[in-house]
């Protein structure tokens, strides 16, 4: 009896020690930042942590700026950002940072034109710049009519309501980059950023978040808004039309999978080793002009070896086509997978984490 009792106690002790050892090894990581990347991150974390129970990843949707800032300070291990770090940001960071693309996202320009919402109007960067700076005030302005001669009679003499994001947003970043790259007067004026100093247009309205943009566009006839591609279902449900945008080659294209991949492929060869490159206004006949890499901003130096290892494993899984870059995740948010050569560059960067 006594022997059995001792055996039981020893057994429990062993189990307990194994259990505590297991929990003691749980690595806790924090991902914070871009609200555009947040849905995908959550889809990833849910499945990844099921297969990797030793890791706990907390995700937060706070904004690209916060993501970069907390990745730099070390509060977060992964800073999600729709924008790569600028030269001055890299210079100001106390330790080396990595900008690792995780997926490709795109953006459409929606409008609410009674009678024309089932039609894809043709719009160009300069025209959009004119609308958002107030020089183009009415839907039947000659520059819009010139691009859409087939609908010249249907375009009404109504004031355009340009809707922009009131919160700091990667969508604003890529939209204003498109305006900057295509229109010199915009480049010398508001330029681009996650928030810009929007020109004072009397009818302009700011909305909070992509759903706010959808709601505002839906509720205001004759309005125009830039909305992330993850919300294409919502905008279709709301009955909003979306535009064909003029790309660098002068063609007007829709944000289809083919056109987005064409744009990514056109710039793959130009992607530098640190992978900081804008995919906006890509060359190529079919390229859709508003696409971007979604970045994971990471510090090269992690506080300890376990965190570094766990981080490397998660990021490698995320960019691989059997892992995070599988279509079952990307399709849910209408993102596109990373091209092969970009994945190779990312792997090289991930290797630098220690």
């Amino acid at each position: 009896m006594k022997q059995k009792f001792v055996a039981l106690v020893l057994g429990c002790a062993m189990v307990a020690s194994v259990a505590t050892a297991a929990t003691a090894e749980t690595v806790k990581m924090l991902e914070t930042g871009s609200s555009l990347l947040y849905p995908l991150m959550n889809l990833w974390v849910a499945d990844y942590t099921k297969d990797n129970p030793g890791v706990q990843i907390t995700t937060q949707s706070t904004g690209s700026g916060t993501g970069i800032s907390e990745a730099i300070s070390g509060v977060a291990q992964i800073g999600a950002s729709d924008a790569y770090m600028s030269d001055s940001q890299l210079k100001a960071a106390p330790s080396p940072m990595l900008n690792i693309p995780t997926a490709i996202s795109a953006q459409q320009v929606n409008y609410n034109l009674p009678g024309l919402n089932d039609v894809h109007l043709k719009l160009s960067g300069p025209v959009l710049a004119g609308i958002y700076s107030g020089s183009i005030r009415y839907w039947d302005d000659k520059s819009i009519v010139a691009l859409n001669k087939a609908y010249a009679s249907k375009l009404p003499h109504k004031g355009i309501i340009p809707i922009h994001r009131s919160d700091g947003s990667g969508d604003t970043f890529i939209f204003t980059q498109y305006l900057t790259f295509s229109t010199p007067s915009w480049k010398n004026g508001p330029a681009y950023g996650t928030s810009i100093s929007w020109p004072a247009v009397p009818t302009a309205v700011g909305a909070n978040g992509n759903p706010g943009m959808v709601q505002a566009c839906k509720a205001a006839p004759y309005s125009i808004a830039y909305i992330g591609v993850s919300f294409l279902n919502e905008t279709d449900k709301a009955g909003l039309g979306y535009a064909m945008l003029e790309n660098r080659a002068g063609n007007f294209v829709l944000p289809t999978a083919e056109n987005v991949s064409a744009a990514a492929a056109a710039l793959v060869s130009k992607t530098p080793a640190d992978e900081r490159i804008s995919l906006i206004f890509a060359p190529g006949a079919k390229s859709y002009p508003i696409i971007n890499y979604e970045y994971a901003i990471v510090r090269e130096q992690q506080p300890n070896a376990e965190t570094a290892a766990a981080l490397k494993k998660f990021l490698s899984w995320g960019i691989s086509s059997d892992g995070g870059n599988a279509m079952k995740y990307l399709d849910k948010v209408h993102f596109k997978p990373l091209p092969e050569s970009v994945v190779k560059l990312s792997i090289k960067q991930i290797d630098k984490i220690h």
Binding site: T32, N42, V45, T59, Q60, V75, G209, K332
Partner: protein, 295 residues
């Protein structure tokens, strides 16, 4: 000598009773409408979130944690409770204490200054409290996203309401009660704890409930102090982010998935239900206690 009621005005008006009654009735109707409108607004808001949250209101959400974009609300509910409880403990000590000092010990000059500062504190935007907490507690003191930081941020937001409420409630204690206790030979502290505070308890409770309600609905300060976590909160006061319901409402509403939206509205419904229950329970308890005191 100035009397409270201006007799001249009343005498002049005594003659036209009918007119005055009519005007009075019109105003009483207006006041009834104002009250009805206030209550109707509450129901309208509750209905607004209920209708949209119904798809997500299943029993499982109370035991499942969020998975970032959908799932359950267990971690957020527990987190909210812990944060508000922590804040409440802090604010009861500091707030009621300040109120007691204002009515029992402070000279008139200090009373004015303290009341003034309390009113100023109530005007500090919650985002400033949050960022203040972020820089001082997370950055300078190195606590990281934590229960303690979140509780302190909430306590700062609740403080003006509790101080002012305790102040007003203690003032309203009839002078005779106060003086009676003193005349019977009790000390200030005795009369405070045995006579004034019990008598003022309903008023203090109103302000505490008001403060808790406001704290439950705050998002901005918690984003920068408690952070957010998809996991059940641990009891660790430092270095461990905590989830809370308002984050779900604020963030999930911005997701491109319908189930996220439903969960966001469900979180709002639960929040409002929790506030309702807290109010009802606390009021009943205090009413019963007050009855026993009187009886």
């Amino acid at each position: 000598m100035k009397t409270l009621i201006d007799e001249r005005r009343f005498r002049a008006m005594r003659s036209n009773v009918a007119a005055r009654s009519a005007i009075g009735s019109a105003w009483w109707l207006g006041s009834a409408l104002a009250l009805a409108a206030s209550i109707a607004m509450l129901f309208a808001l509750f209905w607004f979130v209920l209708v949209r949250g119904v798809p997500a209101l299943r029993p499982e959400i109370f035991v499942t944690v969020t998975n970032g974009i959908s799932g359950g609300l267990a971690n957020a509910i527990v987190g909210t409770f812990m944060l508000v409880l922590g804040g409440l403990v802090l604010v009861m000590i500091v707030g009621v204490g300040s109120g007691i000092w204002l009515t029992a010990f402070a000279g008139p000059r200090m009373v004015e200054v303290t009341r003034f500062l309390t009113d100023v504190l109530s005007g500090v935007p919650s985002i400033v409290v949050g960022y203040f907490g972020y820089v001082v507690l997370l950055g300078y003191l190195g606590w990281g996203f934590s229960l303690a930081a979140g509780a302190i941020a909430l306590a700062i937001i609740m403080l003006p309401y509790v101080v002012r409420g305790t102040d007003l409630a203690l003032i309203a204690v009839p002078q005779e009660l106060r003086e009676g206790a003193l005349a019977l030979g009790s000390s200030t502290s005795r009369s405070m704890f045995m006579v004034c505070l019990p008598s003022a308890m309903p008023g203090i409770l109103t302000s505490v409930l008001l403060a808790v309600s406001i704290a439950l609905g705050e998002t901005a300060p918690l984003i920068y102090t408690a952070g957010w976590s998809n996991y059940m909160p641990s009891a660790a006061p430092f270095h461990s982010p905590v989830g809370y319901l308002t984050y779900v409402v604020w963030t999930f509403i911005n997701q491109p998935f319908a189930q996220s939206h439903a969960l966001a509205y469900a979180a709002a419904v639960i929040l409002m239900a929790v506030i309702f229950l807290t109010n009802v329970v606390a009021r009943t308890v205090v009413d019963v206690a007050a009855q026993r005191l009187r009886g």
